[in-house]
Symmetry: C2
Subunit: 118 residues, 2 copies
DNA sequence: TAAGGAGTGCAATGCCATTGCAAAGTTTAG
DNA sequence: CTAAACTTTGCAATGGCATTGCACTCCTTA
């Protein structure tokens, strides 16, 4: 199962929800896939993205992703097809924070219409 | 109820969850507060913030907030006290998107430790 | 070949958002 | 003043998604 999920994630360039994977691997149970993704997270293979769609999305980490501020790319949620893209070529600078605020993690999410849904 | 909630929101400079308001106004029902906030949203008084904490947060809109890209300030979630701040003095530019991608809404969330929890 | 560990499925739980329905309160027209 | 119409509220139920306990199966290894 882990191999199948990992392979599928590698073939995609976007973030997938647990439910999408459930539908895809219909012979496997929800909880199996959940635990698969959990294992991946614990081993820094995937990171979670909360795109506000109600379902958490999972995407493969980059080689240099440490799942923190360093992994500072934008996620784009298409409100039409509900797909979430990792816009790794569109970096965004970490802004200066007010006094006393310390950042550990950042998540820049943009909602709109993706190129295939236009 | 609407007046009470609105007044309380105006006194805060941060985003509150439904649950926080429930606890605060314990004589009012969950659903009443929920519908109050829903009404506020429909009339562009508050906007919703998904800070990944599991609970949606609600914050008063600025006068010029049209609850879209224009309302492009950063939200800061303190992972210690779980409070969400609107960093209106820390604007962030909307980046250029790849070809064919059109943005309607943006949400920049930073997690870390706030100034009072440091 | 038996024992231990890993992976899986099922069912249950929990949390939060949301809604149907009826009761209570408020406004308005006569 | 009063009844009808509308609004607001509370309670209980529903639904979606994440998560977990438990038992069963499968695989590895001594």
């Amino acid at each position: 199962m882990r191999l199948l999920v990992l392979q599928y994630l590698m073939e995609q360039n976007r973030a997938l929800s647990l439910n999408e994977l459930e539908v895809l691997f219909e012979n496997a149970d929800k909880s199996t896939i959940f635990r698969t993704l959990k294992t991946f997270q614990e081993n820094y293979l995937v990171h979670r993205i909360n795109d506000g769609s109600g379902a958490i999305k999972y995407a493969l980490c980059d080689d240099d992703c440490i799942c923190s501020l360093e992994d500072n790319h934008i996620h784009f949620l298409c409100t039409k097809c509900e797909k979430t893209y990792c816009l790794k070529d569109t970096p965004i600078a970490t802004p200066n924070l007010p006094n006393g605020f310390r950042a550990n993690f950042a998540n820049y999410l943009i909602e709109g219409i993706c190129s295939t849904c236009t």
